[in-house]
C-alpha cells in the first residue's frame, strides 16, 4: 500500500508516514517524488514522498511461484527458503543444478532478477538465489584471479582485461585492485556486463 506524504523535510514526512502505517520510522520504505525549494520572501522547503510499509515476505506465495516455475520448466530441482534481516535466500539443490550454474550462473541470476522484480519491492527485502555455494566460490575465484593479474602486471607492466562481469563481480575485482596502491582499474562498456581493465598508474 503506497501513500503520498508531503512535509517540510524528509524526516518529518517519514515521521508522518510511520504514524500512518503504525510502524517505526526506520522500517518505512519511500521514494522521493519532488523535492523543491520555495521562495516566498524566506526559504521554505517542501518535499513529497511516496511511502509504504514493507509487508514482510509471503513465503507461501513465493515458494508456490518458484514451484510452478520449476514444474513448467521441467527441471528436477528442490529449494529451501531462509529468511534473514532484510533479505531472503532461496537455496536450490537437486539433479539439474548444473543448468542453474551454466554460463556463470546465467539462469540463477535470471531467476533471482525475476523474483526480485515480482516480490522484492512489495515485501521490502532482497531475494538472493544460491546454489551449491556458487556465489561464494565465484567471489573467491575472482579474487584469486585479480591477485594473479595484479602480480603479473607488476612484473611486466602490461594491462589486463577481464571480460563480461556483472556489477557484483566488478565490485569484487575493483575492491582488490584498490588495495594495490600502484595499480588502477576501470570499467568499460555500456551494457549490463562490462569489461574491467587493470593497469599501472
Amino acid at each position: 500500500m503506497k501513500k503520498e506524504f508531503s512535509s517540510a523535510s524528509l524526516k518529518e514526512a517519514l515521521l508522518k508516514a510511520a504514524e500512518e502505517f503504525n510502524v517505526s520510522e526506520e522500517d518505512i520504505r519511500y521514494e522521493i517524488i519532488t523535492a523543491k525549494t520555495k521562495y516566498f520572501g524566506f526559504k521554505q522547503r517542501e518535499i513529497h514522498i511516496n511511502a509504504w510499509a514493507p509487508e514482510g515476505i509471503d513465503e507461501k506465495e513465493l515458494s508456490s511461484f518458484i514451484n510452478s516455475m520449476i514444474d513448467q520448466m521441467g527441471l528436477s530441482l528442490e529449494f529451501t527458503l531462509t529468511e534473514g534481516k532484510g533479505f531472503v535466500t532461496v537455496n536450490f539443490s537437486g539433479e539439474d543444478y548444473k543448468l542453474l550454474l551454466y554460463k556463470n550462473g546465467n539462469l540463477l541470476n535470471a531467476i533471482q532478477y525475476l523474483l526480485n522484480r515480482l516480490f522484492g519491492e512489495v515485501v521490502g527485502s532482497k531475494i538472493y538465489c544460491e546454489c551449491e555455494n556458487f556465489r561464494k566460490t565465484r567471489e573467491q575465484d575472482l579474487s584469486r584471479l585479480a591477485h594473479q593479474h595484479a602480480k603479473s602486471i607488476r612484473k611486466n607492466g602490461k594491462r589486463v582485461t577481464v571480460r563480461d562481469l556483472n556489477p557484483f563481480e566488478r565490485r569484487v575485482v575493483h575492491m582488490i585492485i584498490n588495495k594495490y596502491s600502484d595499480l588502477e582499474s576501470a570499467s568499460a562498456g555500456d551494457s549490463f556486463l562490462k569489461t574491467i581493465t587493470i593497469k599501472k598508474k
Binding site: M69, Q72, L75, Y102, N106, L107, L114, R117, L118
Partner: protein, 83 residues
C-alpha cells in the same frame, strides 16, 4: 512451455487478462509469440531488455533439458492509423 511464459508474464504485468501466448512449433525450434497490453510492454521488456533477457534465459535452460530451441518474440501491435 507456453504456460511458463504465461505464468511469469501474468505476474509481471498490470493487466494479466491481456497476456496472450501463441505457440508455433517447428522442426527443432518453437516460437512463442507474446502479446501484452500496450501499456505493459515496458514491464515484460524491462530496463535495457533485462526482463526479456531473463525470460529468454529461462526458456533456453528449459530447452536444453528438452533438446529443443525456444524463441520468444514479443509482438508489438501498434496502430498505424493513429500516427
Amino acid at each position: 512451455m507456453k504456460q511458463l511464459v504465461e505464468t511469469v508474464c501474468k505476474a509481471l504485468v498490470d493487466n494479466p487478462d491481456e497476456v496472450k501466448v501463441t505457440q508455433i512449433d517447428g522442426e527443432q525450434t518453437t516460437i512463442l509469440e507474446l502479446r501484452v497490453d500496450q501499456s505493459d510492454l515496458g514491464k515484460v521488456i524491462g530496463k535495457q531488455g533485462r526482463t526479456a533477457r531473463a525470460i529468454r534465459t529461462i526458456l533456453a535452460a528449459a530447452g536444453m533439458k528438452q533438446r529443443r530451441r525456444f524463441n520468444l518474440e514479443i509482438i508489438e501491435n501498434f496502430d498505424r492509423e493513429e500516427k
